[in-house]
Subunit: 404 residues, 2 copies
């Protein structure tokens, strides 16, 4: 939809509750030998039943042929035009790690890496050092002082960090600076440079930080360098509370999805690492919200690993736990994906993704199972992912009539 003017003019607050379950990388492709997609191979009786009795179709994540990253894929599902609203990776990472920043800050995401004797990158991920080792290294960098900035660095998982640069004066740091991470090995890290004239101060600050950080890390044998990329500022994004009149909450384990949700104005419910933890959180939060974004990651991870069987398992595990959501009796349950992650491609893809909407206002099609092929026979056909949010609201009685 992405027509926020229209939708905010017709959205209304009600008591109905929407569970918006995003199965990351849901869509798949035929396995060349098995002749089935992951969804077709999986035993998922609950999803099949919901597809049979609900409203189904497929979503085009952003545009035909365009493979989205997780950011644009999720923005579209929440009704945001992913071209109009772009969130930088640095900011997403920092948000996911619950770091503070202002409109004037910039954030970058980084890796600890291994440099050889000549200063060239040997391993961009320093052998995927442990999160514990990462925390230890990061502690040593938190005291770095650079004129004109306060700098916070926080450990993510394994080799990942986020760094937030806050200007000490009232001025604003610019995100128009180049990456230090060359995204390849056997070359030294790049010098951070200003892309536009007014970014020169920011570039100097970031470069000065990197030099001090690398000097400190030089003593370590685990990871003797740090590289940063994806510098970004906080974008201005309309809030879901305002557009949709929702009180939404995000129940996700992975930092990036929490960060993105926070940008859209969702509350972030603390939860654990497993989907079981997330479902327990959903139950706990049931009385507090009317929109529950529940994120399921294992499908995407298995697809990214090119592991067909593991993706089938991830779908089956999800299906087995689905009754816990249904027991809460949501007015609307949406099951959708931010993009396809076919295990035969071992990565994200552009292929349309099946979805289902289960509510008391289903328009059934002829879908027999929850698969790519069957979803094509659904009531809604192939739609833009940005249309799904308005459909979720409509099916929960949260949209007034347009015009008299």
């Amino acid at each position: 939809m992405s027509n926020f003017e229209l939708i905010s003019s017709i959205s209304k607050k009600t008591n109905s509750k929407i569970v918006f379950l995003v199965v990351d990388g849901l869509g798949g492709l035929l396995h060349h030998e098995i002749g089935m997609t992951e969804l077709e191979a999986a035993s998922i009786p609950n999803l099949d039943r919901l597809a049979r009795t609900g409203t189904t179709g497929l979503t085009i994540p952003v545009e035909h042929g365009v493979t989205p990253g997780s950011g644009p894929g999720h923005l579209a599902l929440f009704g945001y035009d992913p071209f109009k609203y772009q969130i930088g990776r640095g900011i997403l990472e920092a948000l996911g790690l619950e770091m503070q920043f202002s409109e004037n800050s910039i954030a970058g995401r980084g890796n600890y890496c291994l440099l050889d004797a000549e200063g060239k990158i040997k391993d961009r991920r320093a052998g995927r050092l442990s999160t514990e080792q990462n925390i230890e290294l990061t502690e040593a960098l938190n005291d770095i002082a650079i004129d004109g900035a306060t700098i916070n660095i926080k450990a993510g998982k394994e080799h990942r960090v986020a760094v937030v640069f806050n200007p000490t004066s009232g001025s604003k740091f610019s995100d128009e600076i180049t990456d230090s991470d060359p995204q390849q090995t056997n070359v030294p890290p790049n010098q951070v440079k200003a892309i536009t004239k007014n970014a020169s101060e920011t570039a100097s600050v970031v470069q000065a930080f990197l030099e001090k950080a690398n000097a400190i890390l030089g003593r370590s044998s685990i990871a003797n360098g740090i590289i940063l990329r994806g510098f970004s500022s906080k974008p201005k994004i309309p809030q879901m509370k305002k557009i949709y009149k929702l009180n939404p909450v995000c129940i996700a384990s992975y930092p990036m999805y929490k960060g993105l949700s926070q940008m859209l104005g969702m509350s972030i419910a603390p939860t654990g690492d497993t989907f079981g933890d997330q479902l327990a959180t959903l139950k706990d939060q049931w009385g507090n919200h009317d929109f529950f974004f529940v994120h399921y990651k294992p499908t995407d991870s298995a697809g990214e690993d090119g592991n067909f069987t593991e993706k089938v398992n991830a779908l089956e595990n999800l299906d087995q736990q689905l009754p816990e959501i249904l027991d809460l009796d949501p007015d609307v349950l949406v099951v959708a994906g931010d993009h396809s992650t076919p295990s035969v491609l071992a990565g994200h893809s552009w292929h349309p993704v099946p979805f289902l909407i289960h509510s008391a206002m289903n328009q059934s099609g002829e879908t027999e199972k929850f698969t790519e092929r069957e979803a094509r026979k659904g009531a809604l056909g192939t739609i833009q992912a940005t249309d799904l949010m308005a459909l979720a609201l409509a099916h929960s009685g949260k949209l007034e009539k347009f015009g008299a």
Copy 2:
């Protein structure tokens, strides 16, 4: 798609090769007695197999209900918004005849015609005189001198000519002038008039040319007049090399398709009159390019003639020669049409046109044959023709992920 900013930001150069086979006027309608469309009646085992194992759907040429000419039909297939980018017929014709012109020139397309004693048009095509007669007449007109212009006229096929008007001063000729061709008989040719004020000099030049030309032609009994229409300037069109990072080539026999392709920045491979010649050219050029636009004309010609059987034959002939393309093992083979030319209508139509994409990243549907009805069961459903190009690029691995 038509979102060139997006697509140029994610397109990348790779070694993969795309064959983009445009079957002109591909789509058809049910023959009233036979109860089948041309595609349904044809024996096309190769296309059927590709449709069964590939990704299929239908394209809306420009908009529901809108019948495109060949220009907009092809522009859309190459990803260009046919409303935003319009190429005048005169320019297309001149390009197809390999005539030179500048940004300041205008071109018109014309017919030799037969005028009666009162100067009224008796036959707009002068009995479709032979190309040889045309060449002879045209020679006699090439010495016409008009102040302020150099004028080139070139013979096309049968009664057709193109005329290019180049200003001798640094000024620019305007295409906002009226046609001299009234597109009906029993009326005299129209006076060429300026539609806008700054076109008055151009109108005078063109009218002066026509008067001198008609005076010269008056001596001929084969064709004693010339009428012009479709005056147009060279439009500014983004180049495929830049947007898509392709090195594209056009392999077409008919001038108009070559002209259009050249406007988009394709190389034009010299080839012969038959599809066999075109396939030989495709093989010759295989090492030189990564995108091969191959144009197949006989389907459209048969449809235009209202000849169902001949269109079926044209489809069967194409199918029999298809293995020559498949033997080259392209990473992606697209088979699409610029519009429908149903033989029951004996002309172009707006009806959605079946397409197939064959690659290693197929998302199969339930299409059993390559027909209008079966393509509806395909993975992609009914899409805009402008989306096809991004899909072709995606299926050949030529598009990076959008966003993180």
